[in-house]
Amino acid sequence: MLLLVRDIGGIAILFIMPLLLLIVITLVQDSTFKTISDIKIPVLLVDNDNGEVSKKIIENLSESNSFQILQKSSEEEAKEAVFSGKYQLAIVIPENLSASLQKKVDQNVEGILSKFGLEEDTLAVEKETIPQKEVRLYFDPATQVSFKSSVKNGIDKMISKIETQSIYKAFQTELGEEDSEPIFDTENFIAFKEILPTKNNEEIIPNSAQHNVSAWTLFAIFFIIVPLSINLLKEKNQGTFVRLRTTPVSYATILGGKTIVYLSVCLVQFTLMLLVGIFLFPAIGLPGVDVSGKLPMLYTVALFSGLAAIGLGLLIGTVAKTQEQAAPFGATSVVILAALGGVWVPVFVMPKFMQFVSKISPMNWGLEAFYDVFLRNVGFAKILPEISLLLLFFLTTTAIAIIYNRRKNAV
C-alpha cells in the first residue's frame, strides 16, 4: 500500500484518468440518448421539384429539430461540399417529383375505382408509364454507418407518409368529396409505446449517465491490470522479489496482499466515479445517476469485477519477463476485453461468432451485472451467475499465476 501511496503521480493517474474518461465519454454520448437534441446538423438540400412534395419534405425536416436546412441550387455544388467533408449530408429532390407522384397516385386510384365500377369513364385507357423517381442522398464518406441508417430510415418514413397522404387525397377527390372535410383519417392507426421498467410505480428512463457509468467504470476497473502487473515486474527488476522468495512467506500470500491493496484501489475508483455521476453530472448539465437502493449490489459487482481484473493483472505480472511486455499486453488486453464485452458495440449486434466469444469475456459478465443493477433493477439472485463467473475467473487466473511461479522457481 505504501508503495502506491508514495507514487503520487501514479495515484493521480489511477484515479483522475478514469474520471476524466467517464466525464468526456458521457458528454460526447449524451446527445444520442436525448429525444430532442440540442445540436442541429446542417443539411444541404437541392429542391429541383419546387412542388407540394418537396415543400412537405422541407417542412418535416425543419420540424424534426435535428436538422438545419441549407438550400443549394445545384446538385454538383452540394455533392462537392459533402464529399469534401464540409457537410455530413445532402438531399436532392428530383424534378417533377410532386407532379409525377400525383400522376402515379391518380392512375392507381382510378384503376382501383374502375374495378369497383365507380369510374364514370369505363372505356379502357392505356396506362401511361411513369418513371420511378429517386430522392438522392449524399453522405460525407467519413459519416458513421449508424448515422446514415437512421437518416435513411427517417427520410424513407417521411416519404411513405407523404405518399399515403397523396393516395387518401386522390381517393377523396375521385369520390367528389370536399378537401375541407376529410373522409380518411391519415394518422397512423398502429402506434408504438415503449414500456419502461418501473420502480415504486415510477418509470425508470435509462440515460447516458447510467449507461456510461456502467461501461466506463468497468473499463477503468480493468485498467488496474497495467499498474498491478508493472508493480510485480518492478519487484523482479529491483531484486526485492528475490528477497521475498527467500522468506517463509508463500507466493500466494504475497499475491493475496496485493489483491487486497489493489481491490481497495478499485473500490475507491468506483466510489469516485459514482460520486461524479451523482453530483458532478447534474451540475454540468448531464443526467445524474440514480443509485438509491442499489448501492450494496453495485459495490458487489464492482468488488467481483475488481477481483477478475486483479486476477488477470497478477497472471500477466507473473508470466511477463519485462515491463515492456506487461504494459502493452495489459493495456491491449483491456481494450480487447472491453470490445468483446460490449462496452463499445452492443453484443446483440455482433456477428454470431463474436457473440459467443463475448460470453467468455469477464468484462461482459461485469457489464451485464452492472446493467442488471443500474438499468434492469433486478434482485441479487439475477446477478449471482455473473459475479460467480467473475470470482471463478479471479480464482483461475490467480491459481495459474501461483502454479506457474511454483514450477518456474521449484527447488
Partner: protein, 247 residues
C-alpha cells in the same frame, strides 16, 4: 552445518556447467569465503543454497534440513544478502526493514526495537526515515545487510556484500558480520576482495569454472603455495591470468 554433495547446475542452453559435482562442508560458526573469477559459479552456488535456483543434480542440507521437505523451516533458518540492493526505493530504510522483517513473522515492538538497534550499529539511525532512493551505495549496502539479518538467521549467505562501497562502509559491514559470527551465525560469502577475505574468513574455497580448485584455511593455503605471499597470489596461481569473459 552445510553439507553439499555432488551439486551441479547447468542453465538451459548453456554449453558448460556453472557448478559441477561440487562437494563442500561448512561447519557451524565458520566464515566461509567462496572466491573465484567472474563467472566461476559463486552466485549460482549461493542461489541454489538459498532456494532461488533449482540444481540440475546433487543435493545439500543445511542443519540437516533440505528445501524439498523443510522449506519454511529452512527459510526461517537462513538469511540472504543478495548482490542487488533489493530494496524498495520509494520506501524509507525503516519501512523497507519493517516490511522484510514482518515476512519472518517479527512484529510490533520487537520488530521496531530490532530495526532501531541494527540501524544504530550500521550508523544509519538519522536516515531511518529517509527514502532509500536518496541513499549512497554504501548506505544501501548496509540497509541491504540489515534486511537479511533482522530475523537472526543461523546461516547467513552474502553475495558480494562489500562490492562498490567506500572503505568506511566496508569496515562497518565487516565488523558487524564478525560480531554476528561471534554470536553464533555461520557465514557463507562470496567476494572479489581477496585481502578482505584473507583476514575475514576462517575458511575459503577457490572456485573456477564451477569446480572447487582448492579449499582450506587462508593462512595454510598461502603456506602451501610456493612464492605466495597472500591469498591473491594463491588465487592467480590456481585460476591463471587469462580473462574469463563469456556471454
Amino acid at each position: 552445518m552445510i553439507e553439499i554433495n555432488q551439486l551441479s547446475k547447468k542453465y538451459k542452453g548453456a554449453e558448460y556447467f556453472s557448478v559441477k559435482d561440487l562437494n563442500l562442508k561448512v561447519e557451524e560458526g565458520e566464515i566461509y569465503g567462496l572466491l573465484g573469477p567472474n563467472g566461476a559459479g559463486k552466485t549460482t552456488l549461493i542461489s541454489m543454497l538459498t532456494s532461488l535456483l533449482k540444481p540440475t543434480s546433487g543435493s545439500f542440507t543445511i542443519n540437516g534440513l533440505n528445501f524439498k521437505e523443510n522449506k519454511n523451516q529452512l527459510k526461517q533458518l537462513i538469511g540472504i544478502v543478495p548482490q542487488e540492493y533489493a530494496l524498495y526505493p520509494t520506501l524509507t530504510a525503516f519501512e523497507n526493514l519493517a516490511y522484510f522483517g514482518s515476512m519472518y513473522g517479527i512484529k510490533g515492538e520487537t520488530l521496531k526495537k530490532s530495526i532501531d538497534e541494527h540501524l544504530e550499529i550500521m550508523g544509519l539511525s538519522k536516515f531511518a526515515h529517509k527514502k532509500t532512493a536518496t541513499f549512497s551505495g554504501g548506505m544501501k549496502r548496509r540497509v541491504n545487510l540489515i534486511a537479511g539479518i533482522l530475523h537472526k538467521p543461523k546461516v547467513l549467505f552474502l553475495d558480494e556484500p562489500t562490492v562498490g562501497v567506500d572503505v568506511q562502509s566496508k569496515n562497518v559491514i565487516i565488523d558487524h558480520l564478525k560480531l554476528l559470527n561471534k554470536q553464533g551465525t555461520t557465514i557463507v560469502y562470496t567476494s572479489h576482495h581477496l585481502n578482505e577475505a584473507e583476514f575475514f574468513c576462517t575458511h575459503v574455497a577457490i572456485i573456477d569454472r564451477g569446480v572447487i580448485i582448492v579449499k582450506g584455511i587462508p593462512s595454510e593455503l598461502i603456506k602451501t603455495q610456493n612464492d605466495a605471499n597472500n591469498l591473491e597470489d594463491v588465487f592467480l596461481v590456481k585460476t591463471g591470468k587469462a580473462l574469463r569473459d563469456h556471454a
